[in-house]
Symmetry: C2
DNA sequence: TTCATATTTCAACCTCTATTGAAATGTTGA
DNA sequence: TCAACATTTCAATAGAGGTTGAAATATGAA
């Protein structure tokens, strides 16, 4: 993954509503969620939601697909994995102490 | 790790020079590097370097310690690990496919 | 003390980001 | 076709972030 893509993705994640959108979409899996559902769950107006969705999509973190009246969004697991891997393994040189922080109980 | 701290750290990492500073400081380990050395390595003027160093320090990603005339900066491994772990395990719900991208068990 | 070095702070400037409400676009069903 | 619904786009505004050069602060050495 290229550095400028990582930087754009990190910038996209560095915002409360967008982080919540990603978390919600991850939890929805391949089913995804419509813009309207996301707006309702996160208690936001439609234009705000649309703005943040397009920021995430431009960063490659989510994808969209129209389904009749709705537009369904899904998380891009490969991009998310690529970003995390870049920070952990490239930028942090896979430092053992940092990797240890990511252990699961 | 609290979400607003994660968001601040992600925002701090989402910038070319700051990402390079973190990478350099990780590579220097406990020895760290002075502001001047960092500026030289990254080919940047002092005020710009200082601005980005303080952004990283405010985000908790690095620490500073004066050593005679120089100020030595070091990466905070625990914060870096906490941020990566938050995105990976909390936000992404420790999704197996995403963990696999990072070659984590 | 005085000078040189290392670093930060400041002010000015410009660009980018976030939020809002209104208007426009696309889609379905009566 | 027309009305409703879902979503995006637009314009306006306010605020945050990045860069620069000059000035201020802190430290060590002659």
């Amino acid at each position: 993954m290229k550095e400028d893509m990582v930087i754009r993705a990190l910038g996209a994640l560095a915002q409360e509503m967008r982080l919540h959108i990603v978390r919600h979409l991850i939890s929805k899996g391949s089913e995804g969620a419509s813009a309207g559902e996301i707006a309702k769950v996160l208690n936001a107006i439609s234009s705000k939601t649309s703005f943040h969705l397009s920021t995430l999509e431009n960063a490659g973190l989510i994808s969209s697909q129209r389904q009749s009246r709705n537009i369904i969004y899904r998380a891009n697991l490969d991009t998310l994995g690529g970003v995390i891997s870049f920070v952990l393994n490239d930028c942090c040189a896979a430092h053992p102490d940092i990797r240890a922080c990511c252990e699961l109980p």
